[in-house]
Symmetry: C2
Subunit: 207 residues, 2 copies
Amino acid sequence: MSSGTAKRRGRRPGGQDTREALLGAAREVFAEHGYDAATVRAIAARAGVDAAMVNHWFGGKDGLFTAAVQLPVNPAEFLPRALDGSREEVGARLVRAFLEAWDSAGGGGLAATLRSVASHDSATRMLREFVSAVVLGRVVEAVGVVDRAHLRASLCGSQLIGLGVMRYVVGLEPLASADRDALSAVVGPTIQHYLTGDLAEFPQHGG
Amino acid sequence: MSSGTAKRRGRRPGGQDTREALLGAAREVFAEHGYDAATVRAIAARAGVDAAMVNHWFGGKDGLFTAAVQLPVNPAEFLPRALDGSREEVGARLVRAFLEAWDSAGGGGLAATLRSVASHDSATRMLREFVSAVVLGRVVEAVGVVDRAHLRASLCGSQLIGLGVMRYVVGLEPLASADRDALSAVVGPTIQHYLTGDLAEFPQHGG
């Protein structure tokens, strides 16, 4: 039925115009409903194409989101291999995977993302939901974190994004030129501590 | 002599136009020479006012820099009280002081700074030098860090800036709403570890 709609509009199903239509529809639907509530079905319907085209072109909702907000790194691609392995070394693997992904994306990638996030409220909201639900959610699930999972995950996120800002945006040495092994060795224990260590008490209110 | 120059240009020494002239001259001279090499004397000369006006209006070079680049937080104001006290708790004090300063500056302050840094190469370079020389330099000096001081200081900077990005720009919970006591308690040990702990080996080259 949806592909019938596409044909009526003169689109070749599976063609480049389908991809562009999905990107446009995704930006609208993600902005209207947020990451979680936006469905692949609703986005495909808005674009007038079959929902299977989302998998065909973007590999799923995550990939469509990262393409729609022009996020140069798709966490769905690097997270699985970082999370696969011993729980005791997941911190170092996450640091390495984060750096591999952003190193490949080139230095300007994170700066562009930050410009967008710091400038547009809708981009901020979408990215926040995405980071919280998809990225950090998967990490705590895979590592089996139950105690204060949101706090632990968001602390990890804060250290990783800060490392990225210093390395790629501010260009602060030695972080800017250090190799990934070295950075994984010194920052990995922090991520490991946040995920599995003994955090201080974290009162809801206190001063 | 310099105030004579100011009078010849029709400025009231110490007046608001002196302040504006200093800000304009500071932006030019900092951009041309970088933070370290730019001197108060050269900036005052460019503005055609007496160098004493820098202290009068901005309390010194740091204050002039933060005003010129519209940095909403002047580290010279919060660093001394964070660094004053026991070496064993300097991490938590630094987190608290960082949050106090940016909490007071309002939520938009860090977003505006990041937009500027992510958009302009000259702003990036000036801020990098300032952070490296003034902020982190004072921390390692006060704490008495000698072993890999630049690495330790820049790791602290990465955790603090990442905490700021998540709290003020992305708005990720629970970091966005957590009180300062709570955040100092959970992030303080990380800063303490980076400054005084046993870091992993940090090879210059390795993979």
